[in-house]
């Protein structure tokens, strides 16, 4: 039962080694970064930047989310498959939003 994929090159990379163990200092660093970013985003919302308020708030949120995904959720250390899975989710989510928006944005154009 132990013929463990010796012949298969495609599984080799994914099987390579045990899973990476992330050390507490990294977690701690991310934790503080997230706290700082939370303070930052709250602070920024008190400054009037017009449309850029929303843009910056979202940019910071995206950055925070990436930190969580990459380090807390170990994607930084994971196989390409998992990276692509995350990408696929993001992509489909963007499809839902952006293609729906083609309707909402252009409804007011022209005569209609």
């Amino acid at each position: 039962m132990d013929l463990h994929n010796e012949t298969v090159e495609h599984n080799r990379a994914e099987h390579a080694g045990e899973m990476h163990i992330v050390r507490p200092p990294v977690y701690l660093g991310i934790f503080f970064a997230l706290l700082v970013l939370t303070a930052l985003t709250t602070g920024m919302s008190y400054v009037d930047l017009g449309v850029f308020n929303a843009v910056i708030a979202l940019a910071i949120a995206c950055f925070k989310a990436s930190l969580v995904v990459l380090f807390f959720m170990h994607i930084h250390y994971s196989s390409r498959l998992l990276k692509m899975t995350v990408g696929a989710g993001l992509f489909t989510f963007m499809l839902l939003i952006s293609l729906t928006m083609t309707d909402y944005i252009s409804r007011a154009w022209g005569r209609f």
């Binding site: 463990h4 977690y27 706290l35 939370t38 985003t41 929303a54 989310a65 959720m73 995350v86």
Partner: protein, 244 residues
């Protein structure tokens, strides 16, 4: 081909030799099982992304249509509580990450400590959320028959911008989305906390510190995901044009 040969062969199916007890029969190795579970969890999180995606889509549209109402609605939320809650949730994410670490280095006590921390922080979050919900009830800002736009048409705070009644009506939409999104998020938290109790109990029995870290890791992924949702909900719901 002689199928009998195969059938009889099963009688002498090789017994599980030397495999850890948690290795399920249909997997060939521990790492295969672990990677399958890990990948499966990620695929499940994809479905969660799309689940929340529908609500984000609705939010985006109405926020653009009724921006003043959303600003007004957002400004009634308590920013201190909101920010605190964000910090609490991030902290719980951190303790959860530490739990994973504890399981990986096989420290039962440490694992249990961090799981317990996560549970406590989870409850703190829900508690604060409960306080916020309660405020909304008191203010008649829960969509439904008792919803009142009074506050938005004649704001008690002289600095706040008064809305015309028709726009003020739209704040109800804001609060609908607010309750829907935070409610869905809270539901995920409640499910998560229930699971945490189970994990804590199993950790106490020593289930995860013998190399079988997968359940902890996977739960960690779930918990971080719930955190991420909040990371987006917070600026979207609380931080619209606070400078007003």
């Amino acid at each position: 081909m002689d199928s009998q040969a195969y059938a009889s062969a099963t009688d002498t199916l090789p017994a599980e030799h030397g495999h850890p007890p948690f290795l399920r029969h249909h997997f060939e190795s521990v790492s295969q099982q672990r990677e399958a579970a890990n990948f499966g969890m990620w695929v499940f999180l994809l479905t969660e992304v799309m689940f929340f995606g529908g609500m984000f889509c609705a939010y985006l549209i109405f926020r653009n249509w009724y921006h003043p109402a959303f600003v007004a609605g957002s400004n009634t939320l308590d920013i201190t509580l909101g920010t605190t809650n964000t910090a609490v949730l991030i902290a719980s994410s951190f303790t959860m990450a530490m739990s994973v670490y504890a399981a990986e280095i096989r420290r039962r006590g440490m694992l249990m400590f961090f799981l317990a921390c996560t549970i406590v922080l989870g409850f703190v979050f829900l508690g604060i959320k409960g306080v916020e919900y309660h405020q909304k009830f008191v203010d008649h800002h829960v969509p439904g028959p008792s919803f009142s736009i009074e506050e938005f048409v004649h704001p008690s705070n002289p600095k706040a911008l008064a809305l015309t009644p028709d726009m003020a009506e739209k704040t109800q939409l804001y609060f609908s989305l607010y309750f829907l999104m935070t409610g869905m998020h809270a539901l995920h938290m409640i499910i998560g906390i229930s699971l945490l109790f189970f994990l804590l109990w199993r950790a106490y029995q020593g289930a995860y510190t013998e190399g079988h870290v997968m359940p902890i890791e996977n739960f960690g992924l779930y918990w971080h995901f719930v955190d991420i949702i909040w990371i987006f909900l917070f600026p979207l719901l609380y931080l619209i044009s606070r400078y007003r």
